[in-house]
Amino acid sequence: MSTIEERVKKIIIEQLGVKEEEVKPEASFENDLGADSLDTVELVMALEEEFETEIPDEEAEKIKTVQAAIDYVTNHAND
């Protein structure tokens, strides 16, 4: 079983079409990984599905970096 960090990174790589080495913890989706606002919405949707959780809009807005995504899932995932 992959760790949460690995699973989150895999989703980011798939959703944003970026290289693994670009997905650094501090990387910002919009500023560093070339995501537009809809990309980030899709990314959140993908995280919701992968981890079978619902991310409220006000929380989703705060998920702007790779680390923020990992932290959110670590704190809220069901599994």
Partner: protein, 246 residues
Amino acid sequence: MTTTMQGQVALVTGASRGIGKAIAEQLAAQGVKVIGTATSDSGAAAISAYLGEHGEGRQLDVTDADSVAETLKAIDEKYGQLDILVNNAGITKDNLLMRLKDDDWDAVLDTNLKSVYRLSKAVLRGMMKRRFGRIINISSVVGTTGNPGQTNYCAAKAGLVGFSKALAQEVAGRGITVNCVAPGFIDTDMTKALTEDQKQAIFANIPAARLGQPEEIAATVVFLASAGAAYITGETIHVNGGLAMV
């Protein structure tokens, strides 16, 4: 790119009669599985009857968020995808603004405009994931030209045009198009409800000198749903016999 519509799945609201029925029938003729909705169980049964093996009718109140969610869940479970959404359900509650009641305003805006927000939002997730979708909203010529006695209806129908342009820009990069078809005066139960004075004023201005047929709206919808229309988005196609050229 999908070059045939065979095997695609479409949801058409307000499909028991008139324009919605013609749309459902023509999509079915293209090999599309069609789920047509009606507000009553008898309407849904009528849809199932004319669609036969090409799809089914379902009872749906487009103003009820729970009813919408339930319908989409059922479609997802049975068909696994939704490629085409045709927001056709609509009502009129005509009166001069001076006499228009709040309930008449609210009912028309809720059924004709908010329902489109509700349904479009609900189907987008699946369309975005699959990088394909067609959302086609049935507006009206009066959304552009106005029509006395229909402030509520005209506001809702014009609202669809703005809604479609905004959503089209949001999702164009995902292979999803959002367009409107704006019928003129079509031979349906809805236009039968117009007063004689309204009809005379309108017919005098139709260069084609006749009412349109529901099939003529449906043909435009089928085109917008087809692969050939992939580069058309945020557009409103007027089908009105020359009544308004905009």
